[in-house]
Every structure is written in structure tokens, then in C-alpha cells.
């Protein structure tokens, strides 16, 4: 099971955190700090796995992480998960973000946190993997985007009643016929 998914930048600023087990808010912040401390002091080119910090269960759990440019993506998992599998999952997550945001960067995560959560929710649910197929995930996210857009359009049109619209079109047609004459 995935216990937590954390994204923070090179300075330890959290950019997204998602815990699948209950901790107090304070502990969550401490876990993020502890994890950053453990992960950030490691060189590049060492292995991507290490034992979890004490707060999140010590050697029972593993931290599996990848470092992309300014961001660390860390998954904290228990022994029932395949390490390399999780590494692939991180890659799928990042590639999906990249497709959804077109060249994702740290700022996208900051300004569209809710969307990052949505994308993640299409992949992982309650600490278990829901879907690994990127195009499936993107299809779902796109469908949501369309729904949002259509709702925004509704917002625009909702101010006109049907009668108003009908009058509006009638007027338009009138004007057009006058012009073509």
C-alpha cells in the first residue's frame, strides 16, 4: 500500500502532499520535513530507495523517490509494493502531468494544485493503484476539463432567458436582411 505521496522542491517547500493514512496535521508537516531531510542529502546516481523516516514507520516502510529538475517526487510505501513498479508509477505520474500541463514545471503545481490532486486521484485511490494507463488517465482528466468548460459557458448563458435569446436572434436576422438588401 502507498502510505503517502509527497512532492517538494529542492528547498523542501512542499508542493503537494497526500497521505493515505491518518496523521495529525502537525505530524504530516513533520513527516514532510523529515522526508526532505532524508532524501535531499543523497547524491544523484545513488539508488532510489531508502528506509522510511521514524515518523512514518521506520524500516517497515520504504521511500521511493525520483528527482526531476527542481522537484522531488516521493512515494512512501509498505513492503507489499514492488520498488521498481513504484518507480515506474512515478514516471507515469510525471509524464501525465507533463501531458496535461504541456511541459509541466513547478509553477504549474503551485497554481493548479487542485488539478494535480485530480490527476493523482485518477491514478491512486485510498493508497492503491487505480489505473496505470496514461491515455486512460488523460482521457478522464480531459473529460473533466470539458465539463468545467461547458459549465463556464452555462454561466455565461444563464443570464439570458430563452425569450431574450429568441428576440436577439430575430433582431440579428432582421439586421442581416436589411444589410443584404
Amino acid at each position: 500500500m502507498i502510505k503517502a505521496i509527497l512532492i517538494f522542491n529542492n528547498h523542501g517547500k512542499p508542493r503537494m502532499s497526500k497521505f493515505y493514512e491518518h496523521y495529525t496535521e502537525d505530524t504530516e508537516q513533520q513527516i514532510i520535513r523529515e522526508t526532505f531531510h532524508l532524501v535531499s542529502k543523497r547524491d544523484e546516481n545513488v539508488c532510489n530507495f531508502l528506509e522510511g523516516g521514524l515518523l512514518i514507520g521506520g524500516s517497515e516502510n520504504k521511500l521511493i523517490y525520483r528527482h526531476y529538475a527542481t522537484l522531488y517526487f516521493v512515494f512512501c510505501v509498505d513492503s507489499s509494493e514492488s520498488e521498481l513498479g513504484i518507480l515506474d508509477l512515478i514516471q507515469v505520474f510525471v509524464e501525465t502531468l507533463d501531458k496535461c500541463f504541456e511541459n509541466v514545471c513547478e509553477l504549474d503545481l503551485i497554481f493548479h494544485l487542485d488539478k494535480v490532486h485530480n490527476i493523482l486521484a485518477e491514478m491512486v485511490m485510498g493508497g492503491m493503484v487505480l489505473e496505470t494507463n496514461m491515455s486512460e488517465i488523460i482521457t478522464q482528466v480531459e473529460a473533466q476539463g470539458k465539463m468545467e468548460k461547458s459549465e463556464r459557458l452555462q454561466d455565461v448563458f444563464v443570464e439570458f432567458s430563452h425569450q431574450d435569446l429568441l428576440d436577439f436572434y430575430n433582431q440579428m436576422e432582421m439586421i442581416q436582411t436589411q444589410l443584404t438588401r
Binding site: C47, E83, L84, F111, M125, V129, T132, G145, M147, K149
Partner: protein, 922 residues
């Protein structure tokens, strides 16, 4: 076009985030946040009703503030309101807020549940998914109560959309984890298992997590998943990389699902059906073969995915531990990875090899890699990898390579990371002890250990070396010589002083012949360290001094001088002062004969499981110690309600408490008695802290009965009355004073909680104590009852095993012959059965046997076994966590005066324990 359009976010939110990012200091940031919080709060409280868009905007801001680490204590109600909006965006943000910020706040949960209920019945797949996500994220008891019945129906319904099925599967899994009692699979089982055959790979991906978890808990009911999993796996493995389209990841078909399928198979023994097994072996071979093929892509993701499957396949092979051919191939493959340039692969190879080392087929093959592993320990840049290498060295160690491995681990210790030193020290100490053929090597190793990593040498380690030296007279002279030399170092660790003080105090005479280590030289050497040591060590040294007086009368005046000095006899520490005064008096009053008797050499310690091993197990949890012979002392996982202090934990610090000096010369007082573990065959050594005093004669008499006398001597009689119902029990203890004198300060301590008992028992009187018992999970160790009281002036101390055994929680189950044999067959895993053949201790009277079996608590089944001589019983053990069904068969052989006892139950520890308990009864 990107799926997430960037420009259309909420302007207010973007401005707020930019503001925060522009804050120059933490204070400025907090100020800006507080301003925003006040703004939002006033908007929420204001008279003007907010529209959906504004609510969404503010909730988003709150989420952002929460992420920055600030407490959010409002907005929950607004979020709940958003749930009932029929606009997707508003509903979605409401659910997001609740998933992130609500944990089980009960008032809100009811409102949330209402919204969820509406969405689940909406037949709008998007809304249903949002609702299912929310349940899975919060997963509280109330939610389980509300939805545990509904979700399986959604999961298996024919008309449910695939995406909803996926969410429903994981949602159900979450509820099962939090409230297993509410999720009743019964009728759904077979349909859930058949999700493995679903057309949609995403559904299979989600369902397999659910099935794996359910199989672990109810292996029998979900057995059919094995053949389905094998055929699914076989279809994936044999498919071309293009067949599975989107589920192909960098040319590897469905790697995630393959891994999960292989994991699921690890919940079961090898398939019995020959065809299924053949197909599976074929799959495993294909996976191993593919590892040797040239890669289809140079991308690291390709090899990553391929190896993920490979490692899971190897784990399965190791789990089966029955195909020597595959095991050797697996071992060779891992051997290749040990030298791979990818650090991740080296790490995983070391880790997998650790488990492989404990298989008898492959132990030798693993050993061939010793040089590579040692090299890894020395040269790896990454501490995670080095730690795995150290673990593997520990696992592959046996008599043939122990010296080499211990030497390597010792030299690694000098540079090892602080985080793993203590564990390394324990491991070195254990290996040195376990494989010591030559005890001078053992002593050298431990002294080296103290020299190199003294701070990390726990008490257990130095206690242990002393026990061993005391018990082995062939090593005593060598030990004395070696510690004497070690103490010459100008700065030596306090632990070294402790060992030195103890050993020279006992065996200094063995090296006193040499003028370079004459008694006075030894004394001066020890005393030169005295002032730098802590109180407990000084106390120990004082005891060593008085021993010197006995060993070497010529040192008497010098030592008396030291004891008499103000710094000793007026020491502010009571313990030191008391020792100084008493030792001084003892040495001046007692005759040589008395001295010689009082200060005699310590008698050998009784044999017991190594306390170091216990410590390592405690540190790493059960299962960490995987070397074959260590199985013996495996820590039993059970616990009784309130059981905090268990056996091994109670070996408290020995020195420095207030012992009476005559009984306890070197301060190595026996700690509170420890669970009387059976002496383990693997350990030749002994332990300081075992007191032979745990009395369990009475204990076994109570396996088949609930009332009677537990203990009796000239002073005290302890009677027991007990009753059990399901997983609860109540026990009355009656303490009877058989004398005509009061017992005062009568106390009992139990390693589970008990109501206190009257501190005073009048002569001839009886007091009563009640203990309530709840069985949380199955257990093997009985709780210990420690009784202390004063009779006359003398302190009496007694430890008894309380006769609470797992069989007390049996509910008898009546069943017909047909049912019995069917269940018997279901419990066919080798570890589920325990069998013992033993000699009859009592007359083989049928009626007596029946009475005993009934007393055991199971139902005695008539007309079940074809042989009327045999007895069969059935029952269910009720624990809080689960119910464990057990079947028993007892076959008496009157001619040979022997019995054969077979117990099968759904949990291996239970079968084992029942068998042990019963074997003593007939």
C-alpha cells in the same frame, strides 16, 4: 491542446498565490495568510449568500493555505454545501477539500454521507467516482456502516461503467481494511474473483489489489483466484509488446499488473493442479529468459519495468522454494545484478538474496557471491545499499565463513554510518557467539567490538560475554589476559572497564603469576579508570575490589585503604557508600573461610536463549532474523489485553539498584524473571538474566480444566476459579495464608493488568483477586504473575505462569462426519497442521480421555472417525481480531502406549501451540 488549460483558473486564487510567493519573510507570509483567512471567514459568515464560484474559489485558497502548513479550522460546512451542487466543478472541489481536510468528524460525516448517497445513486459515472473516492479517502467507520452493503453491488453489477468499477473495487478494499467486520463478501466472492478475467485491464488492476488483500485474510474462500491469476499472467507474458496497446509501458506489456499478479500468487502455496502449475512454471521461465534478451529500448524505463516483473517472479520462486531448477536460475540472475551498473538493481539484488539465503536449496549458491557482497559493503557510495549488503552477509553466514564475515563486518563498523551501528554491533555479537568454535576468537571479537564501537554496545552484549566466560573454563585465562591488555590503552570505553572489572575480579588469579600482571598491577590498572566512570560502573568496580581481597590477600591493605577513603565511604551516592561501608566491614571482620565462601567464583549461568538475539528481534520485529536455526526462539506474536511488558523486555539494568551485597556480589542481580523460554537448541550459551524460578508445574494441569489449586507450599496456597465466554474470561485468584502469621506488603504484579490485591493477609486467612481477560489475538506465552510478600522478616518472591491458554477461548462446534472431513481437507497447507507423537503419561482410559478433551473446550465429535478408537474434535477460537477454526484428531495406540495427535487450524501458530499444550496432557 493541453488537458488542463492554464489561463482559465480563478483570478483571485492566482493573485493570492503570487502574493504569498512574493513575501520576503516568514512573518510577511503569515501576515498575508491571516489577512486572507479573515477575509474568507467574513465572506463565509456574511449575510450575502455566496455563489458556487466564490465558494469554490475560497475553498481552493483554504486548501493552498493548508498545504503551507497552517491549521484550517473552518470552511468545512461550505465544502459540504458544495457537495450537493449539481455542477461538476463545485462538487469536485468540495470533495477534494473533504478528502484532504476531514478525518472522522462525526457531525459532518452524516451530512457528507447524505451527499455521497445521492451521488452513488445518481447513475452519473463522474459523480459516482467522486463519491467513491471520498469514501476511500476518509474511510471512517460511519462510512463503512453506511456503504459497505452498497459498494459490492456496484462493483459486480453488469451495467456499471468500467471506471466506476475500478473505483468501487478500491473503495471496498479501503473499507475492508478499516472495518473488516462490516464488509461481508460471502455471496460476492466468486464474482469478485472473476474480475480477474475482466476485459478492461484497468478493472483488473484495481480488482487485484482488492483480491490480494481478501486472499491474505481468507485464503480458502479465494483459492480459485490462483488459476485465474495464472492464466491472466500467462496471457500477458506471452503477448507481443503491441497487443495490450495502452497498457504497454516502454515496450513491456502491463508491467504493473504482472507484478501484482505475481504478488497475489505469493499468498498461496504452489498450485496443486498439474496443468496450472505447468503453465505457471512456463511463465516464470519466460520471464527469466526475457531478462537475457537484448533490450527493446535503451530507455531506463524499459529495463526498469522489465526488471520489476523479474524481481517479483524471483520472489515467487523463493516463496515456493520447491523448484531447485528455478531457484538456481534466480540465484544466478541476482548474481548478475549484484554487479550491475544500476544502483537500484544492486540494492534489490542484495535484498532478494537475503531471502534466498535462507532456502536450503540455494544457501550454498548464495555463498559463492561472498566476495562481491563484501566488496559492496566496502565500496558502495550509498548507505542504503551498504546496509542491504550487511544484512545479506548476516543472512549468508554459517560455520564455514563466519570468521571472514565477522572480520569484514568489524572493519566496516569503524566507518559505518551512525544510524546502523547499533544494529551492526548486535549482529556481529550474535554471529560471533553462534559460530564460535573457539572461544578465544569469540572473546577477541567482542572486545574488538567494544573498542571500535563502545558507545553502541548495549548492555546485553557485554552481559553476554561475561556469561560465556563464566560458563567456559577453557577461555577464562585467555579472557583475563586479553582484557588486561585491552585496559592498558590510555583511553578505553567504559563498557571495556565493566567487562575488565568483572573478569579480573573473577579470574584475575589466572594471570597473576606473571609479574607484569601481578595482583597489585591489576588493581592499580582498574583503579586508574575508576574516577572517570559512571556510578554503576564504579559500583561494579567496588565489587571487583572485594573479590580481589579474597583472591589476593596481599592486596587487602591497599584496597581497604581505598574503601576507607572519604570519597568512597562518604560518597554522596547511597549505593556506592553502602558498598564501600559493607565491603570494608566484611573484609575486616570475616575470617578467610567466610570470605572465601561469600566471595566464591560465580556459578555457571543456566542455559537460555541469547538476550542479544531477543534484542535484535525486538529492534527489527519478528521475521527480521531469518537465519534458519534461529527459528527456535521466534517471538510469538500474540498478546493479551493490557500486555505491555513482555518477557524479554524486562531484563532491566542490573547494577546500581539496591541489592544486598552478600547475595549479589558483582551487582549482576537477576532481573525480574523472564518468560521461561524453552532452551533453544541452537544456542550453546546462557544468559545472566534467567532465573530458573518461573514455576509452571501447576500451569499444565489447567489446560483441560478451569478450577483448582495452582500453587502450594508450606506458606501459601493459590487457588484458581475461572470462566470463559467467547474471547472474554474472568479469573478469581485466592491467596490463602497457611501459617498463623501475617503476610505483609503482599503484592502481585502481572505482566497484564490486574486489580490490586489486599496488601495484608492475616494468618489462616484468604484474599481474593479478580482478573478480567480479553483475548485480542492468538498467543503462545502465558501471562506471568509475580507475587511478593514478607513473611516474618523474609521477603518471599514467586513467579507463576497464569494458566491462560489459547484453548480457553474455544467455542465447541458440532458437525457431521462429512463436514468434518471436508474442512479437514480445506486446511491442507503444510503449516496449518501440527502433529506430535508421544508416549502416554497416564493410563489410556477412554472415559478419562473424553473428559480431558471436553475440558479442552472443543466439541467431541462422535461417529466421525472410521476408527472408533480415535477421537476427533472441532472448535473455533474466539479472539477479538479473528476467529480461528481448529480441528483435532487423537489416535491412541494401546499396544505401544503411544498417541498421535494432529491439529489443523486456519492459523499456523495456533496449531503449533495447541499441539504443544496437549502433548503434555495424556
Amino acid at each position: 491542446m493541453p488537458a488542463v488549460s492554464k489561463g482559465d483558473g480563478m483570478r483571485g486564487l492566482a493573485v493570492f498565490i503570487s502574493d504569498i510567493r512574493n513575501c520576503k519573510s516568514k512573518e510577511a507570509e503569515i501576515k498575508r495568510i491571516n489577512k486572507e483567512l479573515a477575509n474568507i471567514r467574513s465572506k463565509f459568515k456574511g449575510d450575502k449568500a455566496l455563489d458556487g464560484y466564490s465558494k469554490k474559489k475560497y475553498v481552493c485558497k483554504l486548501l493552498f493555505i493548508f498545504l503551507l502548513g497552517h491549521d484550517i479550522d473552518f470552511g468545512h460546512m461550505e465544502a459540504v454545501n458544495l457537495l450537493s451542487s449539481n455542477k461538476y466543478t463545485e462538487k469536485q472541489i468540495g470533495y477534494l477539500f473533504i478528502s484532504v481536510l476531514v478525518n472522522s468528524n462525526s457531525e459532518l460525516i452524516r451530512l457528507i454521507n447524505n451527499a455521497i448517497k445521492n451521488d452513488l445513486s445518481s447513475r452519473n459515472p463522474t459523480f459516482m467516482c467522486l463519491a467513491l473516492h471520498c469514501i476511500a479517502n476518509v474511510g471512517s467507520r460511519e462510512m463503512a456502516e453506511a456503504f459497505a452493503g452498497e459498494i459490492p453491488r456496484i462493483l459486480v453489477a453488469g451495467d456499471t461503467m468500467d471506471s466506476v468499477k475500478q473505483s468501487a473495487a478500491l473503495c471496498l478494499l479501503r473499507l475492508y481494511k478499516t472495518s473488516p467486520d462490516l464488509v461481508l463478501m460471502g455471496e460476492w466472492t466468486s464474482r469478485v474473483v472473476h474480475l480477474l478475467n475482466d476485459q478492461h485491464m484497468g478493472v483488473v488492476t484495481a480488482a487485484i489489489s482488492l483480491i490480494t488483500c481478501l486472499s491474505q485474510k481468507n485464503p480458502d474462500e479465494f483459492k480459485t483466484c490462483v488459476s485465474l491469476a495464472v492464466s491472466r499472467l500467462s496471457r500477458i507474458v506471452s503477448s507481443a509488446s503491441t497487443d495490450l496497446q495502452d497498457y504497454t509501458y516502454y515496450f513491456v506489456p502491463a508491467p504493473w499488473l504482472s507484478c501484482k499478479l505475481l504478488r497475489l500468487l505469493q499468498c498461496y502455496p504452489p498450485p496443486e493442479d498439474g496443468a496450472v502449475k505447468g503453465r505457471l512454471v512456463e511463465c516464470l521461465e519466460t520471464i527469466l529468459n526475457k531478462a537475457q534478451e537484448p533490450p527493446k529500448s535503451k530507455k531506463v524505463q524499459h529495463s526498469n519495468a522489465k526488471n520489476a516483473i523479474l524481481f517479483e517472479a524471483i520472489s515467487l520462486i523463493i516463496h515456493y522454494d520447491s523448484e531447485p531448477n528455478l531457484l538456481v536460475r534466480a540465484c544466478n540472475q541476482l548474481g548478475q545484478f549484484l554487479q550491475h551498473r544500476e544502483t537500484n538493481l544492486r540494492y534489490l539484488a542484495l535484498e532478494s538474496m537475503c531471502t534466498l539465503a535462507s532456502s536450503e536449496f540455494s544457501h550454498e549458491a548464495v555463498k559463492t557471491h561472498i566476495e562481491t557482497v563484501i566488496n559492496a559493503l566496502k565500496t558502495e557510495r550509498d548507505v542504503s545499499v551498504r546496509q542491504r549488503a550487511a544484512d545479506l552477509l548476516y543472512a549468508m553466514c554459517d560455520r564455514s565463513n563466519a570468521k571472514q564475515i565477522v572480520a569484514e563486518m568489524l572493519s566496516y563498523l569503524e566507518t559505518a554510518d551512525y544510524s546502523i551501528r547499533e544494529e551492526m554491533v548486535l549482529k556481529v555479537a550474535i554471529l560471533a557467539e553462534k559460530y564460535a568454535v573457539d572461544y578465544s576468537w569469540y572473546v577477541d571479537t567482542i572486545l574488538n567490538l567494544i573498542r571500535i564501537a563502545g558507545d553502541y554496545v548495549s548492555e546485553e552484549v557485554w552481559y553476554r560475554v561475561i556469561q560465556i566466560v563464566i560458563n567456559r573454563d577453557d577461555v577464562q585465562g585467555y579472557a583475563a589476559k586479553t582484557v588486561f591488555e585491552a585496559l592498558q590503552a590510555p583511553a578505553c570505553h567504559e563498557n571495556m572497564v565493566k567487562v575488565g572489572g568483572y573478569i579480573l575480579g573473577e579470574f584475575g588469579n589466572l594471570i597473576a603469576g606473571d609479574p607484569r600482571s601481578s595482583p597489585l598491577v591489576q588493581f592499580n590498572l582498574l583503579h586508574s579508570k575508576f574516577h572517570l566512570c559512571s556510578v554503576p560502573t564504579r559500583a561494579l568496580l567496588l565489587s571487583a575490589y572485594i573479590k580481589f581481597i579474597n583472591l589476593f590477600p596481599e592486596t587487602k591493605s591497599t584496597i581497604q585503604e581505598v574503601l576507607r577513603s572519604d570519597s568512597q565511604i562518604r560518597n554522596s551516592d547511597v549505593e556506592l557508600q553502602q558498598r564501600a561501608v559493607e565491603y570494608l566491614k566484611l573484609s575486616s571482620i570475616a575470617s578467610t573461610d567466610v570470605l572465601a565462601t561469600v566471595l566464591e567464583e560465580m556459578p555457571p549461568f543456566p542455559e537460555r536463549e541469547s538476550s542479544i538475539l531477543a534484542k535484535l528481534k525486538k529492534k527489527k520485529g519478528p521475521g527480521a532474523v531469518s537465519v534458519n536455526e534461529l527459528e527456535e526462539g521466534k517471538r510469538e506474536g500474540g498478546e493479551l489485553n493490557g500486555g505491555g511488558e513482555r518477557g524479554g523486555d524486562s531484563s532491566t539494568s542490573a547494577v546500581g539498584s539496591t541489592p544486598s551485597p552478600s547475595a549479589d556480589l558483582l551487582g549482576l542481580r537477576a532481573g525480574p524473571p523472564v518468560t521461561a523460554a524453552a532452551p533453544s537448541a541452537g544456542s550453546l550459551l546462557v544468559d545472566v538474566f534467567s532465573e530458573a524460578g518461573v514455576n509452571d508445574d501447576g500451569f499444565l494441569r489447567f489446560v483441560c480444566k478451569n478450577n483448582g489449586v495452582l500453587f502450594e507450599n508450606q506458606l501459601l496456597q493459590i487457588g484458581i476459579k475461572s470462566e470463559y465466554r467467547q474471547n472474554l474470561g474472568r479469573m478469581y485468584l485466592f491467596y490463602g495464608n497457611k501459617t498463623s502469621v501475617q503476610f505483609v506488603t503482599f503484592t502481585t504484579t502481572l505482566n497484564v493488568q490486574a486489580k490490586p490485591v489486599e496488601p495484608l493477609i492475616e494468618g489462616g486467612a484468604q484474599v481474593q483477586q479478580v482478573i478480567n481477560i480479553e483475548c485480542l489475538t492468538d498467543f503462545s506465552d502465558a501471562p506471568l504473575l509475580n507475587i511478593k510478600f514478607r513473611y516474618g522478616g523474609a521477603l518471599q518472591n514467586l513467579t507463576l505462569k497464569l494458566p491462560v491458554t489459547i484453548n480457553k477461548f474455544f467455542q465447541p462446534t458440532e458437525m457431521a462426519s462429512h463436514d468434518f472431513f471436508q474442512r479437514w481437507k480445506q486446511l491442507s497447507l503444510p503449516q496449518q497442521e501440527a502433529q506430535k507423537i508421544f508416549k502416554a503419561n497416564h493410563a489410556m482410559d477412554t472415559e478419562v480421555l473424553k473428559a480431558k478433551l471436553l475440558g479442552l473446550g472443543m466439541a467431541l465429535l462422535e461417529n466421525v472417525d472410521p476408527n472408533p478408537e480415535n477421537f476427533v474434535c472441532a472448535g473455533v477460537i474466539q479472539t477479538k481480531a479473528q476467529q480461528v477454526g481448529s480441528l483435532l484428531r487423537l489416535e491412541p495406540n494401546a499396544q505401544a502406549q503411544m498417541y498421535r495427535l494432529t491439529v489443523r487450524s486456519s492459523k499456523d501458530t495456533v496449531s503449533k501451540r495447541l499441539c504443544e499444550l496437549l502433548a503434555e496432557q495424556f
